[in-house]
Symmetry: D2
Subunit: 304 residues, 4 copies
Amino acid sequence: MNLKEIIEDIYENVKGIEQKGELASYIPELAKVNSENFGVHISTIDNCNFGVGNSKDKFSIQSIAKVLSLSLAYRTLGESIWERVGVEPSGTAFNSLVQLETDKGIPRNPFINAGAIVISDILISILENPKEDFLAFVRSISNDDGINYSTEISQSEKNVGFRNVALCNFIKSFDNIINDPADVLDLYFNLCSLEMNSKQLSKLFLFLANDGRRLFDNKQIITQSQSKRINALMLTCGFYDESGEFAFKVGLPGKSGVGGAIVAVHPKHYALVVWSPKLNTKGNSYKGMKFLEEFTTRTKQSIF
Amino acid sequence: MNLKEIIEDIYENVKGIEQKGELASYIPELAKVNSENFGVHISTIDNCNFGVGNSKDKFSIQSIAKVLSLSLAYRTLGESIWERVGVEPSGTAFNSLVQLETDKGIPRNPFINAGAIVISDILISILENPKEDFLAFVRSISNDDGINYSTEISQSEKNVGFRNVALCNFIKSFDNIINDPADVLDLYFNLCSLEMNSKQLSKLFLFLANDGRRLFDNKQIITQSQSKRINALMLTCGFYDESGEFAFKVGLPGKSGVGGAIVAVHPKHYALVVWSPKLNTKGNSYKGMKFLEEFTTRTKQSIF
Amino acid sequence: MNLKEIIEDIYENVKGIEQKGELASYIPELAKVNSENFGVHISTIDNCNFGVGNSKDKFSIQSIAKVLSLSLAYRTLGESIWERVGVEPSGTAFNSLVQLETDKGIPRNPFINAGAIVISDILISILENPKEDFLAFVRSISNDDGINYSTEISQSEKNVGFRNVALCNFIKSFDNIINDPADVLDLYFNLCSLEMNSKQLSKLFLFLANDGRRLFDNKQIITQSQSKRINALMLTCGFYDESGEFAFKVGLPGKSGVGGAIVAVHPKHYALVVWSPKLNTKGNSYKGMKFLEEFTTRTKQSIF
Amino acid sequence: MNLKEIIEDIYENVKGIEQKGELASYIPELAKVNSENFGVHISTIDNCNFGVGNSKDKFSIQSIAKVLSLSLAYRTLGESIWERVGVEPSGTAFNSLVQLETDKGIPRNPFINAGAIVISDILISILENPKEDFLAFVRSISNDDGINYSTEISQSEKNVGFRNVALCNFIKSFDNIINDPADVLDLYFNLCSLEMNSKQLSKLFLFLANDGRRLFDNKQIITQSQSKRINALMLTCGFYDESGEFAFKVGLPGKSGVGGAIVAVHPKHYALVVWSPKLNTKGNSYKGMKFLEEFTTRTKQSIF
């Protein structure tokens, strides 16, 4: 059975299971999505592409954007960014303020909200036109001008994002936010509102399967070492407090977003996106987790 | 430059750096070790072996034994052991009681003390002669009868192990210890007292680089899936609250012990042991961390 | 309406209300008590005594004994005991280990289990025959040889007291327990097993309404300053994490025990005991709290 | 020795001791105060007044205003305000966000910042012109139109109040703030900026020594029960995580502010203000604590 057949087969299996999860409800705009959507797309570094289900429907990538904002900050500042954000799993829920207090305003890692907000602050300091420049960076990775922010989503999130306002001001009270919290949050809410479909997202993340080089012209986006390290971070911190579970059951670096997408990267091989909007209690796509667990079990291909 | 030369080269570099760490002091017997010891040994799945420095000197493997006790419990009980211990990084210091309270007596993972104590409890329930049977299991993996417990170490640890007594009784108060705490702790202190040298330890851990099969006769010790999952756990939880850092900088599954040893596993390739007794502030070998970071940087071989 | 009539009146009111609480279940022997028992007794410093209901039935005073063990340690060592235990409310559940970790083994106050265990350790260090000497001290306060330990209760508690074993060993790991944990816990479980009836208990606590002097011969048991300070501690810390609520609604220093008794002290006036075994969710007598709130509302006599 | 002589005597003693504390530094405007200021004033319910030192110099009462805003909200809404804020000591530092997370946005008590912010939110909902109406309420208590806000202080606090912005938005994320966070914080920063001298402050707080009635015409400001309960709250929660210590050593209800003032209330007797700007590590006036401890020791007058 080849990769295409395995994906189709698992897709049919998982499509049929009862969805125990819930749509993300705290962002009103996200709650409007059709919860039956279910799409999968794989892109390989030898230029194969295969999608199934709603793989051409756009969605909000949400926290998955944190990998992209980190990539841009990391390639600009190098290892010095780790003075402002850690590389350890948080061990608690994705929006907890507790550890920030203990750790004096240094977020545990760049993939929890607190960490991504610090990365946004860094981007504001280093970019001339933060929103435009970041979008241009993302588009340049896969040569895809079809990627855009969603104003509805960012506005919807801004209207209810009191906890993120709290996080940003709390970190500022420890002097780990340099710019005006309102500007930092504006960029942060925009990053999270990036929209694309499963195919676009899997092609976008191929650079992390390709030692940091974008596929279409092999240009180095980030260094090989940076690419390995971002993969390591995705493995240990990519799924909030279900990161250990994902490493354990799926065995690949990956990142999820509350929009219901998960992207998994098999270094030297592929990037695989699953999108299904209903989330489990930890905030990760219910069917996405099932699909990927089944996928690496069947292919026996994991990094372990 | 081949593997042997790289190891020799890094060994010389790291040997010369100033040791900032401290000997583990809370176990009196461990504090007697010569802090200048520094040994490295690599064993590959194609039967190559190479050692340098004090690679033939025995040491106490301490927490590294937690991987072995987990292996024995896991192969006997299968996935049901995860009802009693989790698979998530702990996010806090290795002996914290805080999360146990929140998590109602279910330790975060089998590599923190609390988790290893629960695994000891499981072993007492499933083994006829726990101490003897566990030792026989360990010896059988690498066909090595030279591996033994150290009575001095286990006794020394027992005399000062009040925090572990606290942990065990605390978990018992949540009904997640079945047997008498005194028996559970007796086994636990013995497991941690296992002694061997770097060569023995690297040969022992080769089964995790070999999909769960021991090398000398290819017999399956644990299943391939179990082997991958234990590797995943080592990557996310093997270094207390420095696990993210190790994944980030070294990029291999591994486990450290306060005796100063670190074992790193590259699936399909090798097991590599570094031993140097002085520990950094997180309780991991100072030179061991340096050596391994340099090693995967130079070989560009990590799982990411 | 005089005090006797007010007590009788409230007694009838509270007797009739539905009991929402639960018997303490974690100590098997306590769960055998008839949950309908309801007794009240008041003793005043001008030698008036009045009881109603089951005021002559004995019960286990449990944590109320912590005030007595503190009194004995305090009068012997003076202010130096505060080097080993604090005077601040704990803010969390009565058996939490969390703050002990933050506070390096110094319990928040002498009325949480951790603090009372440290006081037991102190008593072992300063008394020749701890159990006998403590009992003699208690009896001497109200000249009452009818007060005794209950072997059944202390044994019952010992059989299930894993959390207290954990606490004691945890504190020992911070070097704030000097003696053998087994000895400390043996004394601790005995202290908590003291038995007496409501009348005996209210007469016993009169010394705290009398500036530290026992009533029958006006002899100073503890100094006036010590008496005031113990009253202050009862007010801020006497009811676990319902201490604020008790100060707020009742407005008197007091102490509760899981045996269902509460003793309240009005300095210069009286000691009042209510006993009803069913406990609210915070571990304090459900009817006891109702009775006392009503009592100070009706008499308009509180310290505020 | 009468009260006046005792005060003068203690004043001289405490004036001479070395000041170990620090000026509040996080609000720039507060750091400009002369740290040598030291004033005391007592007002009794039988109309005696006595002051010493800088008792006529104005200062920022800061958190002491939280008692006044609570009084206004409490008299308007009655017991229903306790659905939105608790009455328990917090057990942790005064600006901690940890417990808010556990307690789902219900602050532990109205005297920590989080609780006072919720009270500010309540005032905005119930007052037509919150700032003006609150000031009028305060002035009406002691018939003193000389009490005013300080624009410099409120502005200075607003410029650096990131942690309070965090708190307010965090509580809002739990739906326990009804109004716009910016409005709530604007009122909050104004409340804290109230200025008066020691004499004015002690006369103002006399209503809490007088069962809720203002002295000059005996009009009930809050009910007797409310007055007792606010006194109870001051005793258990008035000094952040030093509340137990204050109850223990001073034995009176009281409230401190980072401006260096402490007001202590002896029900049925007096209100006593001490002002000295250098703070101990818990954020309470260093000399203020010393003075009051000495005062109740010498007068032997405490509520215990």
